[in-house]
Symmetry: C2
Amino acid sequence: MSGETPPGCVCVIDDDAEVLGSIGSLLRSNGFQAALYDTPEAFLLAGVPQTASCLLLDVRLRGENGLDFQERLAARGIAIPVILITGHGDIPMTVRAMRAGALDFLPKPFTEEQMLAAVATAIGVDRQRRGEAAGHAHLRQCYEALTPREREVMGLVVAGLMNKQIAARMTLSEITVKIHRGNMMRKMEAQSLADLVRMAEFLGIRDDSIHRFNI
Amino acid sequence: MSGETPPGCVCVIDDDAEVLGSIGSLLRSNGFQAALYDTPEAFLLAGVPQTASCLLLDVRLRGENGLDFQERLAARGIAIPVILITGHGDIPMTVRAMRAGALDFLPKPFTEEQMLAAVATAIGVDRQRRGEAAGHAHLRQCYEALTPREREVMGLVVAGLMNKQIAARMTLSEITVKIHRGNMMRKMEAQSLADLVRMAEFLGIRDDSIHRFNI
DNA sequence: CGCGATATCATACGCAGGTTTCGGTCTGGC
DNA sequence: GCCAGACCGAAACCTGCGTATGATATCGCG
């Protein structure tokens, strides 16, 4: 059922060594890689795998509550998909986990099929996310290659100002604005103004000094 | 705790007349309007209120499962915030509801405070959503006022093509493209190309015949 | 100290965008 | 049949954008 998916790495955090081992075996015998940790800290030290992956996290842990840990990950900007498992779950706990972005919440006892299906879905989500993130990384890299002035010009360009207005606002000559603008477009690898606006939209670049009526 | 919020309307669907009445009283005595229905169909017939509102929905209903009904609402594009309540909920049910976009899932018995807090949050979410929707409605209205040719031009403009290229693609003269383009910008009330791109992004306008490398 | 990166500005040229004015065809509704 | 509106186009004109060429100034690093 899950053998045809390209391999992915499942990080399992559970303080019960026996459970950890059996989940690991099950995953490996179904074509997944498995990284096993008995504490959240061990997982953080090892770092998130480079390949498509997901996190299989027990709610009840020795040091820290699994839900707290999940929220700590989100706060740190670690976007790995999370599946929570628990032996003593209740509905408020589930609501909290799902609100925090958990992909699934599996109460014990669960079948092997249930877990494998959840893991396969999560790995798929992560694969897609990573694909998108690759593009974003390049975009950010381009943006960070801009000089301060070029960034400033970019903000005003995507705000819809003309070169003349940008020049006035920055107390520059129009020709200087044109030069910054040209260099900026080249560095951003934007083929058109429309392209640039979409990039800026994505990067969250927005000059708030300009009144904008929509969006 | 919730008296200072502007009034909102809570639609309650529950097939137990007694429960329905007591929830209605509680809501009204806390400053909310309450619209009470004993079946999903009755709610659909009445329609979603014009003001900020939310839906308080029992999972177990006579005709239809509350979760199914929630998904049916989403499929119909009815975006009212949903709070589910149930006497016999379990974790898989909660997962399903939250995935389908429920704002909260309250297992009975719950306190008055819990329910009022959930309702107040949901009403707030709906108020925000309605505020945004108002702007979107105007945007759609503008777009629908465009003639087919103007729409076509708009798609190619936001794809980053020059008037010359648009003319070639539409087998038109460049001057005609300029006229369509000018009319389109006026009808869309776009002050700049950047504006137009953002509007198009929002409306989901995209000419897929053009290869786009990002986003 | 020289080098490179950044920033600034001027002149000039060519191309792109946008409007106005004028002209025409075609279709659908009153 | 007439009018409105969509659609198409040409000539003229103005503005905006982009680049090339050339020049100056500052700053930090090796």
